[in-house]
C-alpha cells in the first residue's frame, strides 16, 4: 500500500490523504472524535428524562459509537406498546447494523436469549431486538424496560453513514 498524496491546508491540518491509489475510494477525507447524547424515546418521539453522554469516532464514512452506561432508565411519559429507541446518534445511519450491549432488567420474550442493539437505517436511533431461536426477531418495547431500574451498558456499534 503506497501513500501517494498529502495536501496541507493549514497548520496542523491535513486533508485529502490518498492511500493505495488516486481515486475517491482511496481518499481519507474525514476524521472526527466527539460526544453524543443518548436519550430513550418512544415511536412518537416522547423522551425519557434519563440521558447519558457517549463518545464517537468517525473515520471516513465509518462511525463507531460507544456508551459506557445508561442507568435506571425512566420510561415515564413513554408509550409502553411502542418500540424503545435510543436516540441521538451523531450521524445518520446508512444500512441497519447490529452492535453489542448489556441490557439489565429488560423482559425477554419466550424463547429469546439475547438482546442486540440495532442502529436503524435512515435514522439516528438504536432499537433493541431479541433473538436466539428460529422465530423472527422481536423488537423490544418500552414496556419491556422495567421503569426506573432497567439499564444499558457497554454499548458499542459501528455503522456506515452517508
Amino acid at each position: 500500500m503506497a501513500l501517494t498524496q498529502i495536501i496541507n491546508s493549514g497548520i496542523g491540518q491535513v486533508t485529502d490523504i490518498k492511500i493505495g491509489g488516486s481515486g475517491s475510494a482511496n481518499t481519507l477525507d474525514d476524521y472526527e472524535e466527539g460526544t453524543w447524547t443518548c436519550t430513550p424515546i418512544d415511536e412518537s418521539g416522547n423522551s425519557s428524562a434519563t440521558t447519558a453522554t457517549g463518545s464517537y469516532t468517525k473515520v471516513g464514512n465509518v462511525v463507531t459509537v460507544t456508551l459506557s452506561s445508561l442507568p435506571n432508565i425512566s420510561t415515564s411519559g413513554l408509550t409502553g406498546a411502542d418500540n424503545m429507541r435510543l436516540d441521538g446518534l451523531p450521524f445518520t445511519v446508512s444500512g441497519s447494523v447490529n452492535g453489542s450491549a448489556s441490557c439489565n432488567r429488560v423482559t425477554f420474550a419466550s424463547g429469546r436469549t439475547m438482546n442486540l442493539p440495532r442502529a436503524q437505517s435512515g435514522s439516528t436511533h438504536i432499537q433493541f431486538i431479541q433473538d436466539g431461536n428460529d422465530s423472527n426477531i422481536i423488537v423490544v418495547t418500552v414496556a419491556d424496560f422495567l421503569d426506573g431500574v432497567a439499564d444499558v451498558s457497554g454499548l458499542n456499534i459501528t455503522y456506515l453513514t452517508t
Partner: protein, 82 residues
Amino acid sequence: MALTEETVQDKIEIIGDFKHVQVRTATVIKRDGVEISRSFSRHVVAPDADITGESAEVQAICAAVHTQEVKDAYAAHLASQE
C-alpha cells in the same frame, strides 16, 4: 492570561433522502484570544423531531427542508423497518 470558553455550531449539514440535519457543536477554549482547544459534540435533527429546543438557525433550516412530503416519507421508511 485570560481563558475563555465559547460554544458554537460550526457545521450544519443536510443529509440524505430524509433531509436529516446534522449539527456539530464545538466547544472552543481560548487563551488571550488564541484558540488552544476545540472539542465536538453532535446531534442530528430528524424530520419527525421536536425542534423547539434547537437554535434559530437550525429551526429555520428544518422548516425549509422538513416538508410534509419528507416527513411522510420518513415515517413510511421507519414503519417499513419494523
